[in-house]
């Protein structure tokens, strides 16, 4: 399944080691991939899929169980509300909107970390917001190809990719 495969690849990107000092810039790959599919095929990827993937990310990164699940579910919900408009945006505008869409997610994560007793304690926590827009453009190009490879289902819903 393409969607599952792309999510696994995103988790790989989320975990694979980056050179020292680069990892604070890492965009939330899994979330962005989820958002892409929510936008492209909202009838198949929605809040439930996002929540489940979040749970897996929690287990993979050693975070509190439910932390990413909550953040992903809320963001996917927002995406579901907005997907019709977002789809008609030009790519650059889409990418910038993603940055805004990530704000509630980042705030929820920050809050959970604070409550759990390990706040990041540094402004660099917000750096992924900067890398989100380029990451989104990259994802759209790559996943757009993937969606085109698949004959049915996705294309009917999202013919212009």
């Amino acid at each position: 399944m393409w969607i599952g495969g792309s999510l696994a690849a995103a988790l790989f990107l989320e975990l694979t080691p980056l050179p020292e000092g680069w990892n604070v810039w890492r965009p939330p790959w899994v979330l962005l991939t989820l958002l892409y599919w929510t936008m492209a095929v909202p009838h198949r990827v929605g809040v439930a899929v996002a929540w489940t993937s979040g749970l897996l990310v929690d287990a993979a990164t050693g975070a509190l169980l439910g932390q990413h699940a909550l953040g992903y579910a809320v963001t996917a919900y927002l995406m579901l509300r907005l997907h019709a408009q977002l789809r008609s945006f030009p790519l650059l505008q889409q990418a910038l909107t993603m940055t805004l869409l990530l704000l509630p997610y980042m705030s929820i994560m920050l809050w959970v970390r604070g409550v759990a007793g390990h706040p990041p304690g540094s402004w660099s926590y917000w750096l992924p917001l900067v890398s989100t827009a380029p990451a989104w453009i990259l994802l759209t190009v790559v996943l757009g190809r993937v969606a085109r490879l698949r004959p049915s289902g996705m294309r009917a819903e999202h013919p212009d990719v």
Binding site: L15, W51, A69, L70, A73
Partner: protein, 281 residues
């Protein structure tokens, strides 16, 4: 959406305060383990490539050096064994509790993945199937690295001594002064807490585990004091130390199996325990 949010909140609370969701966590950890290992490959492959390309000359030199070190260590080991026996005898004489040597030591490898840039946590390739337990001390060849905080069937999470939420009970062997070494979030710095301004601590002092608290065995090196600042008007001095373990560079770590004196205490009256333990034989 609302339901799922509530479920996540519930899960987080349970995970933070209890161990009820541990089985769920184990299952999920098993599911994501292949991806974790895959994600660790680029890091370990880089190292392996470097090793493969190391010249013959360098390998030979390494070999010579290692053999020399081994000889020296063996020599010292002989001396140590004699000392240990003597120490045990003397402790028996004065009626002090025996210091325990670890019962088993095993090498685990780090899985080179970035987990959370704001926590000092690493993933190792041993888990509950290999007998790893929560709270287990983790060392490298130079000093204490941290302890296991979460065990999955095949992997485990280790929190490093430098994590801001981690603290080790320590002492300064030079004068027996006790303190707590708390992490600061930076891999090269620990804070020594609750040392009075008037205490005799100098830059360069060794800091070792004190064995209080029962998590870490006593007398393992933790760090070296790097700065002492007396603050007039404050009850405690500001003392920083550098961890001896190479927290950000070690690829292999040592897992220690040992029983703290507290756990040991009930086993000390051997007769009833033994009778209960193996009725078959």
């Amino acid at each position: 959406m609302v339901v799922l949010s509530l479920v996540s909140l519930l899960l987080m609370t349970l995970d933070q305060r209890t161990s009820l969701v541990a089985p769920l966590r184990d299952g999920l950890a098993l599911l994501v383990e292949p991806i974790q290992r895959l994600a660790g490959l680029p890091g370990s492959m880089a190292v392996r490539l470097r090793e493969d390309w190391a010249g013959r000359e360098r390998l030979l030199a390494d070999n010579r050096r290692l053999r020399r070190t081994l000889r020296e260590l063996r020599l010292r080991q002989q001396k140590l064994e004699a000392l240990e026996a003597e120490n045990a005898r003397l402790r028996r004489l004065v009626g002090a509790a025996q210091r325990l040597a670890p019962q088993r030591v095993e090498i685990a490898e780090l899985i080179a993945v970035d987990l959370d840039p704001y926590r000092q946590v690493v993933l190792i390739d041993r888990g509950s199937l290999q007998g790893v337990y929560e709270g287990q001390p983790v060392l490298d060849d130079a000093g204490v690295m941290g302890q296991v905080i979460e065990v999955a069937p095949d992997t485990a999470l280790v929190i490093l001594v430098s994590d801001p939420s981690h603290a080790v009970p320590v002492q300064i062997p030079r004068n027996g002064l006790r303190s707590v070494a708390a992490g600061t979030g930076r891999p090269d710095r620990l804070h020594l807490l609750y040392i009075p301004n008037s205490a005799d601590v100098r830059v360069g002092d060794q800091v070792t585990t004190s064995g209080l608290g029962g998590r870490f065995p006593a007398d393992y090196p933790v760090g070296v004091v790097t700065a002492v600042e007396h603050r007039p008007g404050e009850p405690f001095a500001e003392i920083t130390a550098r961890p001896l373990a190479r927290l950000d560079r070690s690829r292999e770590v040592l897992l220690l199996w040992w029983r703290s004196p507290q756990d040991q205490a009930p086993a000390r009256s051997p007769v009833p325990g033994k009778a209960d333990g193996d009725p078959a034989s």
